[in-house]
Amino acid sequence: MKVDCTVEIQGHIIDSLTLPKIMDTILDLGAAYTIKEIKIGNDKTNVSYARLNVFADSHEILDNVLDNITKQGATLLEEKNVTLGECPKDRTLPDDFYSTTNMITEILLNDEWVPAGNTAMDCAIVVDEKNKKACCTKLSQIKKGDKVVMGHDGVKVHPLRKHEDKSIFTFMGSEISSEKPKSLLINKIAKRMQEIKENNEGKILFVLGPAVVHTKSRDNFIKLIKMGMVDYMFAGNALATHDIEADLYGTSLGISLEDGNPIPGGHSHHLRAINKINQQGSIRNAVESGVLKTGIMHACIKNDIDFVLAGSIRDDGPLPEVITNTVTAQCEMRKRIQDVKMTIMIASMLHSIAVGNLLPAYVETVCVDINPAVVTKLSDRGSFQTMGLVTDVEAFIRDLVCALERIAVK
């Protein structure tokens, strides 16, 4: 749907059947609509009100729809330009600034629709009037003198329309349940990943928690890297530390990955691993010098996978590549997210929520966790596009690799 407009209808539109008639007319003429607002009169003498967004594939269709529905009582709403306000100092917005959603947004700037770049929720829209550009900007990045969008006038948000979405979302639905047939879902995810790669639709981002190492899923994840299914990897200090620990000591958090038993002195392995890397100066140096021979980090460096490791207060070390300034880490993640088409979040509540907050709604997001509450939490915090898969991460990654291998064989 390429063109759209907003119309309003008021009067006794429910009992006159004017509203259903207009809706039917829109659909009959090959366009579509979403209801933006509806107020029903609460007695016989009170009028009702509805505001609809009408979408069509061409101006001809839209004009034809408008010709018809204006006769039936719809009124085309005039579009207003955005109002801009100036930021008084760094990291400070004027009151009544427009706060973004994670959906594609456009602004009407001097009678021209301009897309707001870097779609993300909880941002202000910084406008460059001279170059006709607009960009969703986090509070931390606001500079004194920036011009930002105020109020709601001239802001158009494009909602996700599920019926048009041919992705796995239509298949999976949004409910989170451990009762869903996993293999079916995983096959669909694999197929979709393959499509994204084949059609060059965008990048695939993985967000990993340390359970990937604890559950001995490293080898299967490395297979995903080698298949070319991983473009970006976001994780924390723990995933990298335990991955390196596994390579250097054969343990993950002191537990043997061979027999699952604790190793004497194993509790210090993660610290010793970090220390080894520090001796080399960085994970990259450790790979290049041959100190680090296998593992996820090793595969990322060897296969040029762009990764961001973001730190937290609990971290030991941390490793040299871990970004400890959260604002810097957020910026690094946002830089990479712009061309991401699909995100798979595995076994990391904090990193999943953090990345979820940065993702535009059009990014197909799969959250895999043994705990359904993680997926629910992600959705509750606004990343409603997330589809949840409640399962063991080791089983998920293994099945995903198998599914991709089957597709490759075919």
Binding site: G11, H12, S16, K44, T45, V47, G73
Partner: protein, 265 residues
């Protein structure tokens, strides 16, 4: 007592064609028209209603159709805004009459067409209002807010029945005389949702073309142009008395009994 506004056909003629019934060159007979109009007036008066007459105006042949003067509700008169330029000059004379008669006169925005009681008829406390051929549906919302009344919109889809009063006639005790095919499915649904089946009297295409719906109702009496024996029987079965008055000269202009009258109460 029912009060009705009429205007004598002193200058009535077919000078232009703004509906499918009007054919320039097929003029009406002035004497015959005058006689028919007077018979209608007398019949109304005999039924106990009071007729108020406003003066005719030279050059305005259709001012005779006072149904299109305004919508009258309590002491309010919402003056018509005619769709066709030929009838726009009538607005001023109707407005003057209502102003002089002490009504609270309201004007809709210029350019928003609304043709008075020709397209707006009360059935109980709901105003049914026609739209598309002559009246802009957007006027319905304004009228609803202005008069604080429920207005139900009905699209007229047959150009022969260009005003609501040519195909929809509310009667005493909640009865309705109407021609269903003049409305689309939505309109028929609205009518069916608001008027119970035993109160609906449907007319056929033949009867509709005889302007059977364009009737004047005074209490339990109905005055209409000639109609079929079938409809007469059905109307009488509902307890009404039917009076047929020949309106042939006005039919040439696409109007009949109801178009020539405007109820003032």
């Amino acid at each position: 007592m029912t009060k009705i506004l009429m205007c004598p056909p002193d200058y009535f003629s077919i000078s232009y064609a703004i509906n499918p019934w009007m054919k320039v060159g097929e003029n009406s007979d002035p004497e015959k028209a005058k006689k028919q109009w007077e018979t209608l007036k007398e019949t109304i008066e005999q039924l106990g209603a009071k007729v108020e007459a406003m003066p005719a105006q030279p050059g305005l042949p259709d001012i005779v159709f006072t149904a299109n003067a305004a919508l009258v509700y309590k002491n309010n008169a919402v003056i018509s805004r005619f769709k066709f330029k030929e009838r726009i000059p009538e607005e001023k004379f109707y407005a003057e009459w209502f102003e002089d008669s002490g009504y609270n006169v309201t004007y809709l925005p210029i350019g928003m067409s609304f043709e008075g009681a020709g397209d707006a008829l009360f059935l109980n406390d709901t105003l049914f209002s026609g739209y598309v051929p002559r009246t802009d549906i957007h006027s319905h919302t304004l009228i609803s807010k202005l008069l604080k009344i429920r207005v139900l919109s009905l699209e007229l889809r047959d150009s022969r029945f260009y005003h609501l009063d040519t195909c929809f006639c509310p009667l005493t005790d909640g009865y309705l005389l109407y021609y269903p095919d003049a409305f689309d499915d939505y309109g028929n649904k609205v009518i069916e949702n608001n008027v119970s089946e035993n109160k609906r009297i449907k007319v056929s295409e033949e009867e509709a073309c005889m302007f059977s719906c364009n009737a004047v109702n005074v209490d339990k009496s109905i005055i209409m142009n000639k109609t079929t024996s079938r409809l007469r029987k059905e109307i009488e079965n509902k307890g009404f008395t039917l009076y047929e008055v020949d309106m042939s000269e006005f039919l040439k202009s696409g109007g009949s009994c109801k178009c020539l009258t405007l109820k003032l109460d």
